[in-house]
């Protein structure tokens, strides 16, 4: 499957912070065909560092999509049956408008003049895209981690536009621990002298800070088990300690590699803005309880968590499930066993596939 990225521009979007962004662009990919009844569209929403390229081989870069093991002919999100839509989030650096985009008022990148965005703003832009594509109601919105937050936001912001919601390995509100890890990442970036208050475009980028931020992130995506299995205490390319501060252990080498790789594809300011959006996310804000917040939702829910995920632990998914039950909403929930930690929703897909395939099929049947 060859996939192609497209971009659409809208004249403006009003943001939660009070600022109106003019204009705004959103980058997206689609797979499969929209049927005549227009009731087979599924929106895939990506996690923190993801992008619109969710599946297939990119026509531009030759790279495989980030959820290619889940999206395609015969896969969980079966492109023979469904029309799959995937877009890059607002504030990102992979096509949609973000801090590295050109500010039309100055002709320079926004940098820190970019307004602070929220998960709600990301979803509002996705809704504009869905309207633009003429989709009256999505069969499903699905995503993991930050994608799951967008799924929950969709279910309450546009209850009549979503038949099914699949929030995976996520939470209805960021916890102190989650905010703390994000803050470490932000401080690493802002402490890098190359960050220059965000005005590094066209100059040296804050690569060291961004790499450290990513290293911290990667630790939180794995589990103690998966790290022990993958690295143990193995040394990297040597039989004895170096007695210096070069790379000794495999795990150090891996983290450094991941960090340096990330710097090439991600913008440090997007890191700041998107992590802030996650930290601000709290579905209960302005409501007496999570149940009260979810009261407006009409979708069927399939909530999935993973046993070894300590970044978005199962108890957070259960909070959502119990809140939905308290309002007698249709909710299926399963904690899947996995050693992969938070990464499981991307890596450990066999059981996830069975759940999603069955859930989508029964939802689709009920609509036809």
């Amino acid at each position: 499957m060859i996939s192609e990225t497209q971009t659409v521009q809208f004249s403006s979007i009003a943001l939660e912070c009070g600022v109106t962004l003019t204009p705004v662009e959103v980058t997206y990919e689609t797979y499969g065909e929209l049927n005549a009844a227009k009731n087979n569209a599924i929106l895939i929403v990506h996690a923190f560092s993801g992008d619109a390229h969710a599946a297939g081989i990119s026509k531009d870069t030759g790279q495989t999509g980030w959820w290619d093991n889940m999206i395609g002919p015969g896969k969980a999100f079966d492109t023979d049956k469904y029309f799959i839509l995937s877009s890059n989030v607002l504030g990102g650096c992979r096509g949609s408008t973000g801090p590295s985009s050109i500010n039309p008022e100055t002709g320079c990148p926004y940098a820190m003049d970019f307004p602070v965005i929220t998960i709600g703003d990301m979803v509002r832009l996705q809704k504009m895209l869905v309207d633009h594509l003429g989709i009256p109601r999505l069969l499903a919105v699905a995503g993991g981690s930050m994608g799951g937050m967008q799924v929950l936001e969709w279910a309450v912001a546009y209850p009549d536009r979503v038949a099914a919601a699949i929030p995976i390995a996520t939470t209805a509100r960021h916890s102190a621990q989650q905010i703390a890890f994000n803050e470490v990442g932000r401080q690493a970036i802002m402490a890098d002298p190359d960050w220059c208050g965000g005005n590094y475009y066209g100059k040296t980028r804050p690569a060291r800070g961004l790499a450290v931020a990513r290293m911290v992130g990667h630790i939180t995506y794995m589990s103690d088990d998966s790290m022990r299995e993958k690295f143990g205490r193995r040394l990297r390319g040597k039989n004895e300690f170096g007695f210096d501060f070069s790379v000794d252990f495999e795990v150090e080498s891996y983290l450094r590699y991941r960090g340096s790789q990330f710097v090439d594809r991600f913008d440090a300011n997007s890191y700041l803005y998107i992590t802030k959006a996650m930290d601000y996310f709290d579905l209960t804000a302005g409501h007496a309880s999570l149940g009260a917040a979810l009261e407006v939702a009409k979708a069927r829910f399939l909530v999935i968590s993973f046993s070894s995920d300590w970044l978005y632990p199962s108890y957070q998914s259960l909070e959502t499930v119990r809140a939905l039950r308290s309002r007698n909403r249709d909710v299926a929930y399963c904690e899947l066993p996995s050693n992969y930690g938070h990464d499981a929703f991307l890596a450990d897909v066999a059981e996830e596939t069975d759940l999603i395939r069955g859930f989508l099929a029964s939802t689709y049947r009920s609509l036809s």
Binding site: R322, S326, V331, C334
Partner: protein
């Protein structure tokens, strides 16, 4: 009996009704009803009721692999302890709540029955009768914990932790002032009408507050 008609309907159903109380439950549930099945296993009964009775089907199951199979077949099942699952729901949101062959495995059966009748308008309870004559005979003759077709486990690996009889349940109904709307007693494929506490292997009660 309508139940027998259901059992003869199609091979799949008959196979399913290896747990014979399924046929009876299928007969009790009104079409289009909102149904919650407690301890629903892999969702077989719910899937069958959804397909044949167009019910709004929900289920609770504690075993992860069974929940996975239920969701994979398209039934809305959530992984939870039965007690905790019920406590979240508002009053009277289901037409029927089913507790099939599970009551004897729960830690707090009375609490669960009361919760069932709070959250559901009707309760459907099916359980193996511990006073069936084979159980009595096994206990009397061997002097050991009864082992029968219905209760095949050794005492140390039995999932059953509360043993109850038809008479026990009737007494509880009086004590709790429940209205028993229907009683169905079974032995094998046959309906039992005489001396149910002695002759019934499985009892099915339809009750409300």
């Amino acid at each position: 009996m309508a139940a027998n008609a259901t059992m003869n309907a199609e091979p799949f159903v008959r196979e399913l009704l290896g747990r014979r109380d399924y046929a009876i439950i299928g007969d009790i549930i009104q079409p289009g009803a909102k149904v919650l099945d407690l301890g629903c296993g892999d969702g077989e009964l719910l899937a069958w009721l959804a397909a044949n009775k167009r019910i709004d089907a929900r289920g609770v199951e504690i075993s992860g692999p069974l929940v996975q199979r239920a969701i994979a077949r398209g039934v809305s099942v959530f992984q939870s302890d039965i007690e905790e699952a019920l406590s979240d729901y508002p009053d009277g949101v289901f037409d029927y709540i089913i507790l099939s062959q599970t009551l004897q495995e729960t830690r707090a059966p009375l609490k669960i029955l009361r919760e069932m009748l709070r959250v559901g308008r009707h309760g459907v309870v099916a359980f193996p009768n511990f006073a069936h004559w084979t159980v009595r005979l096994s206990h009397l003759l061997t002097g050991r914990s009864p082992q029968t077709k219905l209760f095949p486990h050794d005492w140390y690996d039995s999932p059953n932790i509360h043993f109850l009889t038809v008479t026990d349940f009737e007494h509880l109904g009086i004590q709790e002032q429940w209205t028993i709307e229907r009683r169905i007693f079974l032995a094998g494929q046959r309906h039992v009408h005489l001396l149910p506490n002695l002759m019934a292997e499985v009892a099915v009660f339809l009750l409300r507050k």
